[in-house]
Symmetry: C2
Subunit: 412 residues, 2 copies
Amino acid sequence: MGRRTAEPPISWLMRIKLERPRLISLAAGFTDSPTLPVAGSRRLLNELLGDATLGQAALQYGSTAGDDTLRKLTARRIRQLDGSPRGQAGSYEARRTVISHGSQQFLYMATEALCDPGDIVLVEDPTYFVYLGIMQSRGVAGRGVRMTRDGIDLGHLEQVLESLKRDGSLPRLKILYLVSYHQNPTSRSTSLRVKAGALELLRRYEHAAGHPIYLMEDAAYRELGFAGKPAPSALAVKGAVDRVIYLGTYSKPFATGVRVGFGILPEELLTPVLRIKGNHDFGTSNLPQQLVSRSLASGLYEKNLARVQRRYRAKAKAMTDAMGEHLPESAQWEQPEGGLNVWAAMPRKVNTGMKSNFFKKVLDRNVLYVPGGLCYVDDPTRAKPGHEMRLSFGAATEDEIREGIRRLGQAI
Amino acid sequence: MGRRTAEPPISWLMRIKLERPRLISLAAGFTDSPTLPVAGSRRLLNELLGDATLGQAALQYGSTAGDDTLRKLTARRIRQLDGSPRGQAGSYEARRTVISHGSQQFLYMATEALCDPGDIVLVEDPTYFVYLGIMQSRGVAGRGVRMTRDGIDLGHLEQVLESLKRDGSLPRLKILYLVSYHQNPTSRSTSLRVKAGALELLRRYEHAAGHPIYLMEDAAYRELGFAGKPAPSALAVKGAVDRVIYLGTYSKPFATGVRVGFGILPEELLTPVLRIKGNHDFGTSNLPQQLVSRSLASGLYEKNLARVQRRYRAKAKAMTDAMGEHLPESAQWEQPEGGLNVWAAMPRKVNTGMKSNFFKKVLDRNVLYVPGGLCYVDDPTRAKPGHEMRLSFGAATEDEIREGIRRLGQAI
């Protein structure tokens, strides 16, 4: 029952920030307020509500799957981002595109559709910690797959699949979950080679599993890139359309206050997910959907996105520059090419956990980070590293970022 | 797993309406479009987004429990609607008020928090059919409690509790679910006497159950009254604060396109429900919450509500007048004092079920209603009546209502 649900750390981290307004939060996921499209949204909502017919439609219920125009624009947009692969139009169908209340809801529903308690999901090691809360609440177990610079380590994925097969638990495996663009927390992106290789490996073990094993590709940070050229999604892999669950969001690239996410589903999962959505809320709020739809159609979305990307590039640089200045040489991190986070390994002796003295010492200096340990699934086959942290440059200003990192350096 | 979820009839009914624009839908829950507050919402959103600070806050994430101002306004409003009972201020705490993505999401979360598969919920006979879908999807069984003119039959409630006790299944009973204002589907309201009596009965069986049995009061239609004086909520019953889950919505009385609902929870359930919300979506979209909050604070809400109530009174009258004219004498119904529906019993020989010839004949005439049988829980202890229907005057115009009822009369 619901009471087995543990407190999701994201709720706690967001609450601390709201309760301590002077806190410099380098932790949970608020985004950059000054780039929120206030004036543009005002203009679009004025247009929308200036017309009685359009306005009434926007203030009325929509359908469970979401606004049809937005579904079409979304499917087309993902196809374009993927470079419109030839002969693959069928991978990007509006009909199989479902609008959700943030991509979080979509993650929840897809997991509910596929997993019973006791089932297994493979996740990246480390992974998006909020998803671990969803798994926990649904009684789903996890195994971690090691990461390389361009996504999961295919050799290790094969080892994990093999060991599940050996111990008879392959029939419980339902999903491989990948945050494939500027991953939360590491900011690494998955190459198309790794996506194709993972799909091929999953197929190879389906016979022993007795059912499809889906690749759930979470592309929430896809549009928040500011360097490099991201790979196409797994939908672009030939023949992948019936095995890839692709999900994304308009919240982070446009406005987190609208909470409009989406997913593109394999045919087989469309009906189960729509049924679940019918029970959860029978459809996402229409007004925010209409706002997003108009922002896409009018070009406001693209214009604002370019601003957002420039801004995050500057903030990422402010953070890593400050890290170079204030953290000891033995601390390690990678320069992000997108997303909202820098993933940092402290000297081994520093325990960064939520109950550590170090965490408390940093919080006493009014700075908050996400302990790296939260981003690792409970996996009996390996120990969790205890000296990492996720540092977000999403919400804080450049000055706050510099000051926050300075205080972090002091604490070490 | 999610695949056990059956198609919720509401999704199907909403889809038919969207797919057949010429259909006169006297079925699923769209509301009256001309009374939607288009101009007023435009003005409020202009104010909100005309201010950079307020605008940024509205387009940014909020907290999992919802906007604090809206939580306060909501708790205060429910207290006022209840006549601000003396010494009961503790029943209406903003701290225990949670904003949800429509009241549907709140229903889902409260049920998830309390029920395991195999648990039992008592519902009115008939009840809100969408809730039956939630129960089904979570593997929860139901028992029906007969209704009188002023709510459930307390004598029958006692019988049902007694029989659960006798057969040893009382420990599985978690909730009594009442739609207490202008009930969907019957439009009847529950008196304070019945609410107090039900709470007392539930308490009496808690010892044998081994845990609290909650009264979940769904007040979704509370503000849609247009005649009579509705009773206070169960929160006004002395000492009820730790056993009443009260839920309501701003979607129907204000704008269905915002999907802003809420619930007031007993202390014990607050944390479990917030954890569930943290996993489902970690917070309701902020922009619609801010719109509702401003509509309450500015008086737009009340002004619009008065219009909505007048309009539904006229439409209810148009419907029952047409029923008097076109339906046979053996058909029976009650004059609603609020809500969106007329509950009608056809002559016994008419089978109104979704697979009946009659349903098909009516749909062929481009009219849709909700078969009454959908509103009864599967309860092994009694047969479902097969000759009733729920006729909604929510979305259709007065002309459509008259024409729809005329065609319905022809089909009989």
